[in-house]
Symmetry: C2
Subunit: 234 residues, 2 copies
């Protein structure tokens, strides 16, 4: 790799609004993009289809989809047969850790991304965590990201060989949903390609009522924009 | 759970000598054992068969085998079509990071184990890493284990709710192979059930010449014991 060639970065892409935005941010920063998505036993396939659409639209060097069935141990409404809550108030949504929390998910996803990055010779990872709207998720907080960055330095060859340090980029961590959307629109993201809903109808249209839909719709409203994604009802 | 019922612990079990020993240590400490193994694209199935034999012999409450195909990104002789080195000298084996290092493997495995432990309500994890004989592996060092324990506290519900702290037990980390074997024999481990070889013959007999076989055979010799596992040649 010469000093002129773009540096590789591994980007975690779920197919949601946040991950499409970080893909665009990483691209605008000049990185060569390696996207990693996980087939972790989600309740539906629309998220992974959105991930592939977003990667194709923004332009990645390569996308891999890693099968990693977290249903092996359950414990979340996103992977178990537990009902997804609907039409919750702001107070309800911000009370405690949501049932949609998947135990250790971001730790697991970042770890696998770290392994791939090491193989690629990359030292930059991008993750679309957000501590504002997802304050109930322990692994969306800045202190988690900092701790993972420290771990990465000790867990890999660079820790032994004293080479390049790791950068875990979480550029959305302190932005509101409206700020994320405005930033993405400025970078040319087509949010009509993304999928955020926890409980879509059989054709893939968003329900408009789960926590994720509510946060997303409020974000577009706060940004004075219309969500281009298809909804069954709003 | 009453204070009398045994506390659950998640134990990483590969089917090798070290993981059989930590299973026996965790049992002797009084934990209820939950074993986790990974089907990560190993070159052969004998390791996973050994893991199941060891779990059955020592007695676990439950064993899960998580499919997690690390061949998706390659980079190691253990998952790629790269030749396993044979008959290397001590100097060669301790020079740099071995080709059998799997990028970020222990980080990935501990992360998945962490998720399962959180679902089970466990706060104890056991991993059979060893910093003496595997000094070339970055993720077998004490500073890695310490960093992961800190991360675990921030990555999970306990980090938000301020409940029980995590204990990542690595009881073999500073023991020689001979010391590990002596300890296991004292605890009743049948090492004939375990599998360590990177390159067994088609019937599952160990090659006796890869780094893993050499370390194992030297460990038994230093402990003045005979390895009961089957070898094609020694």
């Amino acid at each position: 790799m010469t000093s002129d060639s773009p540096r590789p970065a591994v980007v975690l892409v779920s197919g949601g609004l946040d991950s499409a935005t970080i893909l665009a941010i990483a691209k605008s920063t000049g990185f060569e993009l390696y996207a990693i998505s996980f087939d972790y036993g989600q309740r539906h396939r629309f998220e992974l289809e959105a991930a592939s659409r977003v990667c194709a639209a923004i332009g990645v060097k390569r996308q891999i989809v890693v099968p990693l069935d977290l249903r092996a141990f359950g414990g979340s409404a996103l992977t178990d047969e537990i009902a997804v809550p609907k039409d919750r108030s702001d107070a309800q949504m911000s009370d405690g850790i949501p049932i949609t929390y998947v135990p250790a998910r971001n730790t697991i996803f970042l770890s696998v991304a770290l392994g791939w990055a090491e193989v690629l010779g990359a030292s930059d990872l991008f993750i679309g965590v957000n501590a504002v709207d997802y304050s109930g998720y322990p692994d969306c907080r800045p202190e988690f990201i900092t701790a993972f960055q420290q771990l990465a330095g000790l867990a890999t060859k660079s820790g032994v060989e004293g080479t390049a340090a790791w950068n875990i980029h979480a550029p959305l961590i302190s932005l509101s949903k409206a700020e994320i959307i405005r930033l993405g629109v400025k970078l040319g993201v087509d949010y009509g390609l993304t999928h955020s809903c926890y409980d879509p109808d059989p054709t893939g249209r968003a329900c408009g009522h789960c926590d994720s839909c509510q946060l997303r719709l409020k974000g577009f409203a706060d940004a004075d924009l219309i969500d281009p994604a298809p909804y069954a009802s709003r």
